[in-house]
Amino acid sequence: MTDSQTIAETHEELIKGDQTFHSVTDAISRISEQKTPKLWYLAFSIAFSFLLLLLGSIGYLIYKGTGIWGLNIPAGWGWAIINFVWWVGIGHAGTLISAILYLFRQEWRTSINRFAEAMTIFAVMCALVFPAIHVGRVWVLYWVFPIPNQMSMWPNFRSPLLWDVFAVGTYFTVSLLFWYVGLIPDLATLRDRAKSRIRKMVYGIFSLGWRGSNKQWKHYELSYLILAGLSTPLVLSVHSVVSFDFAVSVIPGWHTTIFPPYFVAGAIFSGFAMVMTLAIIARKIYSLEDFITIKHLERMNIIMLVTSLMVGYAYATEFFVAWYSGNMYEAFTLMNRALGPYSWGYWIMIICNVAVPQIFWFKKLRRNVPVMFVASILINVGMWFERFVIVITSLAQDYLPSSWDYYTPTFWDVAIYLGTFGLFFTLFLLFLRWLPMIATSEIKGVLPQARVEH
């Protein structure tokens, strides 16, 4: 078998149905041109209601203060921080798919990278809501930036919380740029297909006059490659820095060196679960089974299985280190996680993150769409509880038993969390409605007829 034959065969599995360049353009561009399905309006109205809930709750929070949350002393960090870490983590799969798999020339990524990147951007936006409102006095939020001010004070660059500002801020900006650069050729496709004047103008403006010339492609491809190369260490640094918020402190259960890799693995794990949930819904609604095939879903399941094992290994290592360090506070905290007042959360975490993904050892199950849909949701529940366990168990019962307390969220904690789903899905549905959700030009590049011989 020659090389080109093998290549052609793998492509056949990735993109199904006898596709031509035109049929690819048509199948994907049509989604944003045809009449919007009724289901979209239904979904959008639900999402938008939750977005309004978010805005209302934030308004009340700013009016009243963070006292409306269930925070107490010692548990000064609650749902807001859990949700922040959870949402940032979800974003990580998008960058992994768009950048790391690109560098490894995993061509199967082309079917899922566009909306995985969109998911990253929207998830990071949801994440950024939380630290912004958690500061209490949101009107002086600009203090986190090194802006000369009348007090002639500067931010404390030795604080992990400030590193977070730079890490997550950079992550958001670079992800947005990466996504936009990838969109330019496809926006030009929509421009050239546009029938109405307004579509021509809007897509025309955002496609920046792209004309597919090789002199443009030359710089474009290098730019894309460099952005992938920059995003790869960036994504690893972001969740490492997020983990520093915990690891650099001296709270038992937080002050461990395993946190950065453990957080990054968990982030990719939960992010893939979210990509899976969204991909299954999108391919069903828009009949994209030819582009997002069972093969793509199976590969994502394998990545989830691998990262689940990493996360499980990290849970075990935490226990081992707690025992091996001989530190009684550390040992107590870990035992307290599994057997203490929040043990229900701990075991939800173990079941969802370690037990459930083991079903993906079986080929039948990892190719079964309903099974993986349920599993992907359970994994995200489990990953939320992982952050709950880390934040709450360590804070509520730390060194002095006299200061222990039990943390319970209030209505407003739940409202803001649910509200961020409104923000996320509102943006995601707008994206599905107006932008090409699959990277059309990249798909064309991996079709068998795109191969040239020299």
């Binding site: 031509t20 360049f21 035109h22 353009t25 090194p146 002639s152 004070m153 500067w154 931010p155 404390n156 660059f157 030795r158 400030l162 590193w163 730079f166 890490a167 950079t170 900006t173 670079v174 740029l177 650069v181 050729p185 496709t189 421009r191 050239d192 297909r193 025309g204 403006i205 920046l208 006059g209 792209w210 004309r211 597919g212 010339s213 090789n214 002199k215 492609w217 030359k218 710089h219 474009y220 290098l222 730019s223 460099i226 952005l227 920059l230 995003s231 260490p233 960036l234 640094s237 820095v241 030009s441 990249e442 064309k444 590049g445 007829q449 795109a450 191969r451 040239v452 011989e453 020299h454």
Partner: protein, 192 residues
């Protein structure tokens, strides 16, 4: 009465597919054309060599921007923490390098990414919302399934008729001259 003049900007020729476009590019290059370009819905591997294109200098821009980002971040943290408003925090030195690494790293990446995106825009002269190629309706196919060679009127060898024959001889399925009709308004009307 309106007087019309026609300005020719160049010409385009359509080819069947990526393979044909690649060969056409080699032929056009070998025939000594300088101001030409190839257009396709996706990047075609080997097209740079076929056209005789030099490597993109974008890497240099990114490298310089990255250094500026990292150096700038270190300077900023040193000046704010050790010079302008020194504060003792957890007994660390004013210039505590290990604690300054995360911000330095992030700003290196941020500025390098700006270099990669805006440098690419600059090299591609984007945004350029209008280009004579858009005079051709046929050219809209380029973002769908069209493969084109374009030759600019500035090319020393440009000659619509001769070029058309040449392009057809190397496999062009369609050719078009990019004409712009310039309407010159009569002098008495322009007073309004």
């Amino acid at each position: 009465m309106n007087s019309q003049s026609i300005k020719i900007h160049g010409m385009i020729a359509e080819f069947e597919g990526p393979q044909q476009l690649l060969h056409a590019a080699e032929q056009v290059r070998d025939n000594g054309f300088i101001r030409f370009d190839c257009h396709s819905p996706f990047p075609i591997h080997g097209m740079d060599e076929a056209m005789g294109e030099k490597r993109s200098p974008l890497g240099w821009i990114v490298g310089i921007m990255g250094l500026l980002g990292g150096g700038g971040a270190l300077l900023l943290q040193w000046w704010t923490s050790a010079v302008d408003y020194p504060l003792v925090i957890s007994g660390k030195p004013f210039f505590s390098l290990p604690a300054f690494i995360p911000v330095t790293f992030e700003l290196t990446i941020l500025l390098a990414a700006f270099g990669a995106v805006f440098g690419m825009f600059a090299l591609n002269k984007m945004p350029q919302w209008f280009h004579p190629l858009f005079f051709s309706d046929r050219f809209a196919k380029v973002t769908d399934d069209g493969f084109f060679v374009s030759i600019e009127a500035e090319d020393p060898q440009f000659d619509p008729e001769k070029n058309r024959q040449f392009l057809e001889s190397i496999g062009a399925t369609y050719t078009e001259v990019l004409e712009e009709k310039i309407e010159e308004e009569p002098a008495e009307k322009s007073g309004h």
